[in-house]
């Protein structure tokens, strides 16, 4: 008999994520209207059968924009996360494991990056590489590195002198293998939380950037940009905020719960 406990987080998170992915995928191929098409009579139209999510101040169909926006947002968030998490992971792991002068120096560098105003960084990137959303995403990714690096480094500090690591060293396991194969799986629980938080922040980062006047994106909608755009009509056209916000929240929620479920699965066996 197989005893497989049902995980609530895994189930709900999985379903939500699947739904949101399906939603996003739909947006790639089909939207009820063109996301940029404007229709004067539909300006400020509240949700209706024709426009389930209503229309914005430019008469664009919010559903279509949300559909497409979810796609951009997902790419942006993933790109930022990949840059930030992968670099942060490697840096944090090496620093935490080896320690020493290099660690101290690199951590100070991380401090420097963390203290560097993100807006300034974005402006520099824009100035150097010209406009383009992926350039700013790169910049955002860099900003995510220090936090990941610190988190991972802390965990590595904790594990690097444990007996099982020592015994791996005695065996002659290579340092890199110790870091990534022996220690890394132990820090998954913390890393998973960090990743879901990172995903969350990545989704929001672009919205904050837009709010501060450094547009990441303009014609092709993203959820963050839509939220920023609807900022001035928060109270008059609430649907322009509610639906993209809901999409973002569900996306983040799904990923978050899924992460929780995965963590639970892995944690459950290691007891």
């Amino acid at each position: 008999m197989k005893v497989k406990k049902k995980s609530w987080y895994l189930t709900i998170g999985g379903i939500l994520t699947a739904c949101m992915l399906a939603f996003t995928a739909t947006g790639l191929f089909w939207t009820p209207y063109s996301p940029t098409a404007m229709s004067a009579p539909d300006r400020n139209a509240p949700p209706s059968a024709a426009h389930p999510f209503g229309c914005d101040q430019l008469g664009r169909d919010v559903l279509s924009r949300t559909l497409e926006g979810a796609g951009s947002t997902l790419t942006i968030a993933l790109a930022v996360l990949v840059v930030g998490a992968v670099c942060g992971l490697v840096i944090g792991a090496l620093c935490g494991y080896y320690g020493g002068v290099a660690d101290a120096l690199i951590m100070r560098l991380c401090d420097a990056v963390a203290a560097f105003p993100s807006v300034l960084l974005a402006l520099v990137v824009l100035a150097l590489t010209g406009p383009g959303k992926y350039n700013v995403i790169g910049a955002l990714g860099v900003l995510f590195i220090p936090s990941f690096a610190r988190l991972v480094r802390g965990e590595f500090l904790k594990y690097r002198d444990r007996d099982f690591v020592q015994s791996a060293r005695l065996m002659g396991v290579s340092q890199l293998r110790i870091i990534f194969i022996h220690i890394l799986p132990n820090i998954w629980p913390v890393l998973l939380s960090g990743l879901t938080i990172g995903f969350n922040n990545a989704v929001l980062a672009e919205a904050s950037m837009s709010y501060l006047g450094i547009g990441v994106n303009a014609t092709e909608p993203s959820l963050g940009y839509m939220l920023k755009d609807a900022q001035g009509v928060l109270f008059t056209l609430p649907w322009c905020t509610i639906f993209p916000a809901l999409a973002a929240i569900l996306l983040i929620l799904g990923v978050g719960l899924l992460g929780e479920g995965i963590r639970e699965r892995m944690g459950g066996t290691a007891a």
């Binding site: 008999m1 005893v3 406990k5 459950g268 007891a271």
Partner: protein, 269 residues
Amino acid sequence: MMLDVQELSVAFTDRQEPFTAVDKFSLQMDRGEIVGIVGESGSGKSMTAHALMGLIPRSRAAVTGRALFEGVDLLPLPREALRQYQGRDLSIIFQEPMTSLNPTMRIGKQVEEALFIHGKLSPGERKAKALAAMELAGLPDPEGLYRQYPHQLSGGMRQRVMIAAALVLRPRLLIADEPTTALDVTIQAQILDTLKDINRQEGTAILFISHDLGVVKALCSRVVVMKQGRIVETGPAEQVFHHPREDYTKLLIASRPSRKKLRGGGEHE
């Protein structure tokens, strides 16, 4: 009767195939009795001990049967009720002193924790009692150790810390899971004397799990022999050691290490 265990079973459910670690374990103990459990490694001795203490999470394993402590079945008790027994009436010395201590809590705090939970002593009184218990467990320089962390201690010292923590509140039933494995013989002898004293003076019943048959023989009045989750033989110590009935028991007794040399594949028996 102090402890009446009836058909206690522990079945792990957290893996693909359910696994019965303890199968219908039954045992009766009176006040002041010392019962030894010996047996194969992996035969379920520790799990029995944990189950009696109510320490096996329901999510991980199914614990069935009855474990009556002075007439109260401990197994179905809710946490709140159970914890009135834990640490006060029942206490346990874990087999793994290395991981069973909180790595970030000072030794002293860990030793006196049961006092903190179950009593209303002042910090000073608690410390005095803790130091006394540490002394009793044969720890050198308790004052110095009081402020240390577990990782700064040797294996044997940690084991004695566990013992001190279990004894600090003078439980009525002490479950000791291989309490002396990491101790050198002189200290082992001292600890065994301490256990005997407590048993004699305060009537503490002791469930003593060990591989060391010599120790069991010296300490226990009754012995339970376990193999693969089941009790294979039980009876007064004298009888079990001198007139074992089961083959496994005989094997155990025969395998006791002695001053015999193991040379070049030389057969042991």
